[in-house]
């Protein structure tokens, strides 16, 4: 899809990421016949927060959808703890220990908060009550509104519910697509704090974020995507300080 040459800083077989829990290796993927990802590789270390940034159409959300089985990798591998999960269905991948929070429509609007959380745990065999009670302790707003339908929540509260639904499975890795999309700046900051709170529990997070500076600011690692492939990969702080990244992707 692209005849541009990749920059030297592009990821090559994920060197530099020790103890990777999730790796994407030389993946092409897309919708129907339209290719979006082009030989994309990245890795997420156990317990870290990694952020994918880049312009619209760079393929950021496509990476998450391919990892989570909403799209099939055309070539290459997606590995979780070494096992190839490329091509598995979402309902199976969630049982492996990966969670996914879509960007939009990420709650069941016509179900109550409690029912949303119960749906988050359908793949668990044990009693959900203690897990859900834990989540209520962590996110009191959900406890308060447990009997209300999710479509009565504000944008920020919905995002919290979307996280909580995914956390019922206690995943090792959580994929989050643009957590701050459509939120007022203050609310977005609160949601980023929630992302960090989730990470504090030991969950590694791979996040797509339109607001590149804020996204990188709370991340350990960053990937700059452009035209379906990784152009820059580094510690998040280093990317923020990189003049080229700054000029091209962070708006100066």
């Amino acid at each position: 899809m692209s005849d541009e040459t990749t920059t030297t800083s592009s990821a090559e077989a994920n060197d530099g990421v020790d103890d990777a829990v999730l790796t994407v290796e030389h993946v092409d993927s897309g919708y129907g016949d339209a290719q979006v990802l082009d030989d994309l590789s990245l890795a997420l270390a156990d317990g870290e927060v990694a952020c994918l940034i880049g312009p619209n159409g760079a393929g950021k959300s496509t990476v998450l959808k391919t990892v989570f089985g909403m799209l099939q990798p055309w070539t290459g591998h997606v590995r979780f703890r070494g096992a190839d999960i490329g091509g598995m269905a979402p309902e199976d991948i969630v049982r492996e220990g990966i969670g996914y929070v879509p960007q939009t429509e990420n709650v069941f609007g016509s179900l109550t908060i409690e029912e949303n959380l119960r749906m988050g745990g359908v793949a668990r065999d044990d009693d959900l009550t203690p897990v859900i009670d834990d989540l209520y302790d962590r996110f009191p707003i959900l406890a308060e509104k447990r009997r209300a339908n999710a479509n009565t929540l504000s944008g920020g509260q919905r995002q919290v519910l979307a996280f909580a639904r995914a956390l019922v499975m206690e995943p090792d890795v959580l994929l989050i697509d643009e957590p701050s999309a459509g939120l007022a700046p203050n609310t977005a900051d609160e949601v980023f704090e929630d992302v960090l709170a989730v990470n504090d529990l030991g969950t590694a997070i791979l996040m797509v974020e339109q607001n590149a500076k804020k996204g990188l600011a709370i991340s350990d690692r960053g990937y700059v995507l452009d035209q379906g492939t990784v152009r820059f990969e580094d510690d998040a702080d280093a990317l923020l300080d990189n003049p080229e990244v700054s000029r091209l992707y962070l708006g100066g």
Binding site: E105, S110, N151
Partner: protein
């Protein structure tokens, strides 16, 4: 008081429409297409019940003026309708990689196939359940209501089935998964729900209810190869009026359309020369009027 009689008739007719409309809406909400074979699924249920009743007979005991054998036959009709729908889903709809409009058109073809097979087996003539027609209930006659125990049986059965569906949807794991899948199928899969299985359950329940509706429609009027198809437009009107895809909307829509249909004689009673032959037309006019105010149906959520 003719009005009371019309209302009583409306309750009975609504019962049949509600059973059909709830099933249609359920399938729409999860299989994501308007199933034009739903009416003929009712016919399948009616004929299966008819055959089963012929085989097993009355079985002695009576419930609400109906032989026990009729209820057993009705159960057979429900099962056969459900099995036929699941086979159709597995053999026809699922292998087709087409959008919801394509599935809709396919379902019209499926409807023709159901009807043709029934006609091949049973001929085009109108038949009836071999159950004696009852006299109206004496206690209701002073009120001007001519209602038989069979009518009561239809009403009670519909209330039981719809209540059971409500309990299933609200208080069971399967019901919550069905609602979640209807609400947002992608998120349902992301949450780990095996939506393929939920879809099968939905076909089973939706077509089963259609089979029950068909059996009762056969008891209420008669059994013929076109019975389900003839009522399908009314059922669609009910579903659209309530808000397509909404189960509770379909209950309300089915109730209203059935009522409006049976209240039509009221017009001639008050001197407006519009006969009962226009009852469906009036139901449709009211449906259009409601949609002008609430384009997504009565039960649609405003602004979401």
């Amino acid at each position: 008081m003719a009005l009371l009689e019309y209302i009583a008739n409306g309750l009975v007719f609504s019962s049949i429409i509600v059973l059909a409309s709830v099933g249609l809406s359920l399938v729409y909400s999860i299989a994501d297409f308007a199933n034009f074979a739903h009416g003929d699924t009712m016919t399948v249920g009616a004929y299966a019940a008819l055959v089963a009743f012929g085989v097993i007979g009355g079985l002695g005991a009576e419930i609400l003026g109906l032989p026990l054998g009729f209820f057993v036959a009705l159960a057979v009709g429900i099962v056969v309708a459900a099995v036929v729908a699941i086979l159709t889903h597995k053999l026809v709809y699922e292998p087709l990689d087409i959008d919801s409009i394509g599935l809709l058109i396919t379902s019209i073809g499926v409807a023709f196939v159901y009807r043709a097979v029934i006609q091949l087996g049973f001929g085009a003539q109108v038949t009836e359940f071999d159950i004696q027609v009852l006299r109206p209930i004496d206690a209701l006659l002073p009120l001007g209501v001519r209602m038989t125990l069979h009518d009561v049986a239809i009403l009670v059965s519909a209330v039981v089935l719809v209540t059971a569906l409500h309990v299933l949807l609200q208080y069971t794991d399967l019901g919550r998964k069905m609602r979640a899948t209807a609400d947002n199928p992608d998120l349902a899969r992301v949450s780990g729900i095996r939506t393929d299985r939920i879809k099968l359950w939905t076909w089973l329940i939706g077509a089963g209810l259609a089979g029950a509706g068909g059996g009762f429609l056969g008891l209420y009027s008669s059994v013929s190869p076109r019975m389900g198809f003839n009522i399908l437009l009314v059922v669609f009107a009910a579903v659209i009026l309530g808000g397509i895809g909404s189960i509770y909307g379909a209950m309300l829509g089915g109730f209203l359309i059935g009522m409006i249909d049976q209240l039509t004689p009221l017009l001639t009673d008050v001197g407006i020369p519009i006969g009962t032959e226009y009852s469906y037309a009036i139901a449709f006019v009211i449906m259009v009027a409601v949609l002008l105010v609430r384009p997504n149906g009565i039960a649609s959520e405003v602004g979401s």
